[in-house]
């Protein structure tokens, strides 16, 4: 049986790896970050059935870690690819973790003593981590890592407190980056997306006003494992909001930024409004939208429920600008669609549904692999061979081929696995 390389360990990469491995194929799963899981690990609940995201993702991550035919390489990136379909040679740069990932028990003793405090990326910078840390509790592998740039130690060791604290003695500052060479028959790209930074849209005041946050920040804030322990609060006064305004299509469907529609944000804003109401029974949410894009299975019903049972108000209008008043409340200026007159509404918290955009690595990998991108910078695919890239033997799934929700990403992952398997086993 052949071998396949899967690049990116979000839900798409995880599903592709599991399907391939269950087909009897050896899988090398290369993940740039310290854990697999991707964006889905950062979400609180997931539309349209509101299952807890981590709770449904975590068993799959653990399955990956335990599967005898899946090798996971974290902190790793593909540097070079030679050869062709059926016979690719791949160079993977595996960065040093400085913690022995097989020995670490994730006890956290090291982080307890580490004096360095840094913004926590997983929590969208809303809380802090140490220089030695685990990205999130259910991370796979279950091991801490030391961020070398953040650390005070190194040569000569200036701090080294973590080394002393670790009873398992699994911290080793002499670990080196490694280059690993792999031979595979085919490749699946699943490097996912980034979210658009809305700072450029100055009219919404993101970063200028603390109570203007993004959808992902909202997901962390309302999540039980988030920076506020699941209490949905405004950042200025740590009080629960009474009113929330959701701004849709932030960066999407725009001539200036992304021309495309990000597919998932009408639904995730709806979900977030529902969750807000579950946490704060009398909260009022307003969703300012252009078109309500809700054509997936059960989506219209979900929106109906949001309207009827959770009192979510949908307002068809683009918000022109947001202004802060004295006490941190936010005034939304918009045009009433029915009367074409300017209108205002005051809210406590504003949530921007920012576009899903290709990460910087999509272009870099396209270069390494000799692939074409589409006009938006995602991997180019053809609608009638949807998981094939422009190169034979290289397939793609999930948000790196265009915005997609979780069910779509999973279906695409299985689809890409089927295509990749055809080449891994030498039958084309």
């Amino acid at each position: 049986m052949g071998e396949v390389l899967v690049i990116g360990g979000g839900i798409a990469g995880v599903q592709a790896a599991l399907d391939l491995a269950e087909m009897g194929i050896r899988v090398h799963l290369v993940e740039k970050g310290p854990s697999i899981g991707g964006r889905m690990a950062q979400l609180d609940k997931t539309f349209p059935t509101n299952d807890c995201s981590t709770c449904i993702l975590s068993p799959k991550m653990v399955d990956c870690a335990r599967h005898p035919r899946i090798a996971i390489y974290t902190l790793s990136e593909v540097q070079a690819v030679a050869g062709e379909v059926g016979d690719f040679t791949v160079q993977v740069l595996k960065r040093a973790r400085y913690v022995d990932e097989t020995a670490c028990t994730a006890c956290g003793d090291c982080a307890q003593v580490c004096p360095v405090v840094r913004p926590d990326e997983f929590q969208m910078g809303l809380s802090t981590r140490r220089a030695i840390y685990i990205p999130f509790a259910q991370a796979v592998p279950q091991a801490y890592l030391r961020n070398r740039e953040d650390c005070l130690g190194d040569e000569p060791i200036a701090c080294g407190r973590c080394i002393e604290a670790c009873r398992k003695q699994c911290i080793d500052f002499d670990m080196q980056d490694e280059v690993i060479e792999l031979s595979v028959g085919s490749i699946v790209l699943a490097v996912g997306m980034e979210t658009f930074d809305p700072v450029a849209l100055t009219e919404y005041g993101y970063t200028r006003y603390e109570n203007v946050i993004t959808g992902l920040e909202f997901e962390r804030l309302i999540c039980a494992s988030g920076p506020s322990g699941g209490r949905l609060i405004r950042l200025t006064d740590r009080q629960e909001p009474r009113t929330i305004g959701f701004v849709q299509c932030v960066g999407s469907r725009s001539l200036k930024y992304q021309r495309f529609c990000s597919s998932v944000c009408c639904m995730h804003a709806t979900k977030e409004a529902i969750l807000a109401r579950e946490h704060i029974p009398d909260v009022q949410s307003y969703i300012f939208y252009t078109d309500l894009r809700a054509s997936g299975k059960g989506f219209q019903e979900y929106i109906e429920r949001a309207r009827r049972e959770y009192g979510v108000k949908y307002i068809r209008s683009r918000v022109a600008r947001i202004e802060e008043d004295g006490d941190g409340r936010l005034v939304f200026h918009y045009e009433d669609a029915a009367t074409s007159r300017p209108q205002q509404v005051k809210v406590d918290l504003a949530v921007l549904a920012t576009s899903l955009i290709p990460g910087p690595d999509v272009a870099a990998l396209a270069e390494v692999l000799g692939l074409e991108l589409d006009e938006y910078g995602f991997f180019r695919t053809n609608p009638f061979s949807p998981t094939d890239t422009t190169r034979e033997g290289v397939f793609t799934c999930g948000c790196c081929r265009g915005p997609a929700d979780i069910p779509q990403s999973v279906a695409q992952a299985s689809g890409a696995a089927a295509r990749a398997a055809q080449y891994a086993t030498g039958n084309t």
Binding site: Q15, D19, E22, M23, T49, D51, C52, C55, I56, L57, S58, P59, K60, V62, R66, A106, C107, A137, Q138, V140, Q142, A224, S225, G229, G230, R253, R259, F260, C261, D291, A294, S295, K297, G298, F299, Q300, E301, E304, A337, A338, F378, P383, F384, P386, T387, A404, I406, P407, Q408, V410, A411, Q412, S414, G415, A416, A417, A418, A421, Q422, N427
Partner: protein, 562 residues
């Protein structure tokens, strides 16, 4: 009391999911007082690698003979903990799950004290059950490396080809006289405007040329028996006059790709098939050269997104745009209006397609259900929500965009397969998020518009995806089934056949052991351990293992504090 098996209890914080509302330390202290419990531990996440290692370590070092985990839900996590037990040499059926997240911290979020007390009760019940657990054996069965694909449209054919190319035999059953499905009757395909029939003809040729695919046209599945890895299927010809032709096949996995049908808007907006037609009929006119109109008004969501059919059919906005562009291509001066509620053109390609239509001069007018358009003899009257004004648009042709609806016989097929359909009649997958192409019944998968209306880009993806899912079964020589099954005590069984009648999965059957003496036997691979038979059995001969009367009674007594 202390003679029973050595029981270990693990209490999970689930981050703060549980610990935020349940006093886990109190539950821990309580668990230590329960008879038989020799080891108790709390974990931040018992399901993490670290938590699982702790379970294994405790089995080895503390000599645990039963493991109880009080955590989230067995639905997602039971296999994980069972596997940890197995890896540590403990029969996985000596494991018991106590759900203190869904049943305590979530439902009693506002009342932490009550949640904690309930968690203690549940742990006590889990521990008494654990003492009575018995090791169970799992069954291994061989897998027939062949697949059945039901439905010979683009999606069924694509799935069949992928499996065949990977070396599996495929039987493809199509109800109609030829392969191709809906695409045979479409004109061009969005978003690239390739020819639908050319695309599908290529796939038909590939399928017909493949020596591992056996095609049965004008045929339907008339019977399905068996279970994952070993389905026995009867295929019957529906050719008229009836030939009585029947084939019996064995397959390891089944893919449902029976598509959907286009809703006919009888009685809506003056639909007459002449001046008021559907998008589907418009494409037929394009194909046959019967199209001739200068002023065309399209109305979206006809029969969709209304109380009696609330869903959005996903494909009709893009279909309208396609056909509007086709009209402009044929007659550059034609006027085309699309009256819509929301444009469902998500993603990169379809949003670009919408932009292209606007740039091409297609007029989009938004209406709402408060003022639905009216079709009179000369014009379509619509209240434009953006302008806030009523417009009357003269027309030569009105085209209604109608949704895809489930096939009438989908329910029948679903019953034969013992899989569910949703309230609209579309096939219902095992898990909306993470198992979009699987059914709960092992070895059966779904793809295409039989599942939900979707663009070809998506349905073709699903075809490959379902093929991958089926291949995860077909690639194995043998598979193992659960040990939680029903067991018959033949001495008590009277052969009354109640169990045979109630079982949804066809697992029990009556066997003649001596002349005139019948007893029930359960096929352990087909049995799902649901216990329906045990409840129906009048003599107590049938027992659902892992949920025996003794075990359940002990739990009830424990719940009542006895």
């Amino acid at each position: 009391m202390s003679e029973g098996p050595r029981i270990g209890v693990f209490i999970c914080h689930c981050g703060s999911n549980i610990a935020g509302h349940v006093d886990v330390e109190a539950v821990e202290a309580y668990a230590r007082t329960l008879p038989g419990v020799v080891f108790v531990q709390r974990n931040l996440y018992t399901c993490s690698d670290a938590g699982l290692s702790e379970i294994k370590r405790a089995i080895a070092e503390e000599g645990l003979e039963r493991v109880v985990v009080a955590a989230c839900t067995p639905r997602t996590h039971e296999p994980l903990f069972q596997e940890a037990c197995r890896e540590a040499g403990l029969n996985p059926y000596l494991f018991e799950f106590v759900n203190i997240r869904d049943q305590c911290s979530w439902v009693h979020m506002q009342e932490p004290e009550a949640a904690t007390e309930k968690a203690k009760d549940l742990v006590r019940m889990g521990v008494v059950k654990a003492r009575l657990l018995e090791p169970l054996e799992e069954q291994e069965v061989e897998v027939e490396p062949a697949a059945l694909v039901v439905g010979g449209g683009m999606i069924g054919m694509t799935a069949a080809l992928n499996l065949a190319e990977r070396g599996f035999a495929v039987r493809l059953v199509e109800r109609g006289p030829r392969l191709g499905g809906l695409l045979l009757r479409l004109d061009k395909l969005y978003p690239t405007h390739e020819d639908a029939r050319a695309l599908v003809a290529k796939r038909v040729a590939e399928v017909e040329a493949h020596d591992r695919i056996e095609v049965f046209t004008s045929s339907v599945v008339s019977e399905i028996k068996g279970f994952v890895g070993n389905y026995e299927v009867k295929i019957t010809s529906n050719r008229q006059p009836a030939t009585g032709n029947q084939h019996s096949l064995r397959v390891g996995a089944i893919i449902v790709a029976t598509g959907a049908r286009v809703f006919k808007p009888e009685g809506l907006y003056g639909y007459d098939g002449q001046r008021v037609i559907t998008q589907f009929e418009l494409e037929e006119r394009f194909r046959t050269g019967g199209f001739d109109a200068e002023r065309v008004v399209m109305i979206q969501c006809v029969g969709a997104r209304i109380p009696e059919r609330p869903y959005c059919s996903r494909i009709c906005c893009t279909t309208a745009i396609k056909n509007a562009l086709q009209i402009r291509e044929r007659q550059p001066h034609a006027q085309v209006y699309i009256l819509y509620r929301d444009t469902e053109t998500q993603g990169t390609r379809y949003e670009a397609y919408y932009t292209r239509a606007r740039e091409a001069g297609i007029q989009f007018i938004r209406y709402s259900l408060r003022h639905p358009p009216e079709v009179t003899d000369e014009r379509v009257v619509v209240y434009d929500e953006l302008l806030g004004a009523r417009l009357g648009i003269p027309y030569d042709l009105v085209v209604l965009s109608t949704p895809l609806v489930a096939c009438e016989d989908a329910r029948e097929l679903a019953q034969m397969l013992k899989v569910p359909v949703d309230e609209h009649g579309f096939f219902l997958e095992a898990h909306v998020k993470l198992r979009p192409l699987d059914f709960a019944t092992d070895g059966i998968y779904v793809a295409g518009t039989a599942r939900w209306p979707a663009h070809l880009e998506e349905t073709i993806t699903q075809a490959y995806g379902a093929a991958a899912r089926a291949a995860t079964i077909l690639s194995k020589d043998r598979i193992t089934s659960s040990g939680v099954v029903a067991r018959v005590d033949e001495a008590l069984c009277r052969g009354c056949s109640r169990c045979v009648e109630v079982c949804e999965f066809g697992a029990p059957s009556l066997i003649e052991t001596a002349p005139g003496m019948k007893v029930a036997r359960v096929n352990p691979v087909m049995c799902k351990g649901c216990g329906a038979c045990a409840a129906a059995c009048p003599t107590g001969a049938m027992t659902a293992m892992h949920f025996t009367d003794e075990q359940v009674t002990a739990m009830v007594r424990a719940a009542l504090g006895h």
